[in-house]
Symmetry: C2
Subunit: 309 residues, 2 copies
């Protein structure tokens, strides 16, 4: 799956991922009206609205991008119906040959991490049958519990040729509260990054590891350091766009081969029609606004990478 | 909800919580056979089996205990059908007047934590209607992202008079890998505990805070220190029984009022019939074995607390 991600990035020349993090407030009124007409103002109606909204964005952008990253919390808030919309979104993206990164940030003690791994990237046994549950291609994982919270995910990644991105330095303002604290002269995030590099060596693709890291776009100097600590790990970079990150800030997250990083934008793309810049599309053509925002993001990052050469 | 938890602990004299972490391998054959006869060897069949298994344990123990802690990963591994079994379990426990601690270990950047809080302890708005999704009473939360990953949970806790337990020192063998590392002379878990105490002051019940902490039974010396760092926080203590913790190890997790800690046992209770000690019950009477194991656990902890006085 990491090889597929590399291939698709080269083919699209787009080291980006579209964050499918739908809020009901982003969904254009005509989509909500149709969903509510069918299912009422219910959890099922809300789930139908976000699914139709996602589908529009995917149809308008899938040929330009290698991957999507649905944030499961945005679906989980609508309960079972929301989880069904999450599952439909994952399946539909895979039909469109997109790599799906489930942004689930799970992590627990061994046997529990094993259950999460089974549910999200593995297979579950029921009697003599085997099923997949949520079936993403990559997932995000929280490292706070240490190695024995990570290895069950690693085991399933090996079995299924799937991958994960481990939180190293997150994009939010207070991420430094614990992550930046110095331990033996080095910040905690650097210790975590060293472990990511070590775990990654256990499960290598052709040029990159199946074990990547999350490093926020909002901390470019840290990204520069961590690129070197984890040379074979892909860096998943949240925080571009709405959170403040720009293409020029991100060149050091990449290796010299032009790979090694994949930059996420969520709101900046899926709710592009709400920005002044793309307002001319209007709510009716929200998906075209998303396509325009994807093209602009690709150009921004490509320009920055070329300028840095 | 923290007041209710305190009241129920006093009434039952049982500072314990039963971890509803069902594995299909724990479920007695007669329950699996009935579920598979109805739904086949499918995800729905598996979910029905774990729900019926849970129901038997709840019916046999609810009068003895204040609270249950379903581990969502064990349900999530069966996909949507598993999540429905989780939801049914939460609802059924609440009908039995049990406090439900959803062991979900979520945690993300602000807007995403807000969505998790909405889905698990809050209410979600759809048009002019308001719904609950998973509707637990307490949840567990991961602190790696710092304050702005926690405050959205805190906000919803305040609104709904619900609570959370934040991971401080987990029970697993490699928890020390990051959590024990020294920062300014103190381990990371102690820095997290200080923040838990500060967050907890913002949302107090009558004697204890709505913000508690997770500290594993497997590290009793650390429990003793952390009890003092967070005097007003309830400590949720995993790792009793199957993971090795004993009642005598846990006396220092409690305050002098006999409150302040709630000890979890999962496998040791729900799969008690598989232990030599309770083998005489047999698989047919697995729930009676669970009841006997609950009574033994209460006696073990009560004895240890009395001996320490």
């Amino acid at each position: 799956m990491i090889n597929k991600l590399c291939d698709k990035i080269k083919k699209t020349n787009a080291p980006i991922v579209v964050g499918l993090d739908p809020m009901l407030s982003y969904v254009p009124d005509h989509i909500k009206a149709a969903a509510f007409a069918e299912y009422g103002e219910t959890l099922k109606g809300a789930a139908e609205a976000i699914w139709q909204y996602n589908k529009g964005i995917i149809d308008a952008t899938y040929d330009l991008i290698p991957a999507v990253k649905p944030q499961i919390a945005m679906y989980e808030q609508f309960g079972i119906e929301g989880m069904i919309a999450f599952q439909k979104t994952v399946e539909y993206c895979q039909e469109k040959d997109l790599v799906v990164i489930g942004d689930i940030k799970r992590g627990d003690i061994g046997s529990t991490s094993a259950a999460y791994a089974t549910g999200h990237i593995g297979k579950v046994q029921v009697g003599s049958n085997t099923y997949t549950a949520f079936n993403e291609d990559f997932i995000t994982v929280n490292p706070y519990l240490g190695s024995d919270g990570i290895t069950p995910f690693l085991d399933v990644c090996k079995e299924e040729k799937k991958g994960m991105f481990i939180l190293v330095k997150t994009s939010n303002p207070s991420s430094g509260e614990f992550q930046d604290r110095l331990i033996d002269g080095k910040p905690l995030y650097e210790h975590v990054a060293e472990k990511v590099a070590a775990w990654g060596e256990e499960h290598m693709g052709d040029s990159y590891s199946y074990v990547g890291a999350v490093v926020g776009a909002t901390y470019p100097e840290i990204g520069k350091v961590l690129r070197k600590v984890m040379p074979k790990s892909f860096i998943l970079v949240p925080g571009y766009g709405a959170q403040g990150g720009k293409g020029a800030d991100l060149v050091h997250y990449f290796n010299e081969d032009g790979l090694g990083a994949i930059v996420n934008s969520s709101r900046g793309i899926i709710a592009a029609y709400k920005q002044d810049k793309y307002a001319q599309y209007g709510a009716a053509n929200y998906a075209d606004a998303s396509r325009a925002a994807v093209l602009d993001m690709i150009a921004d990052i490509d320009g920055a990478l070329k300028a840095a050469k």
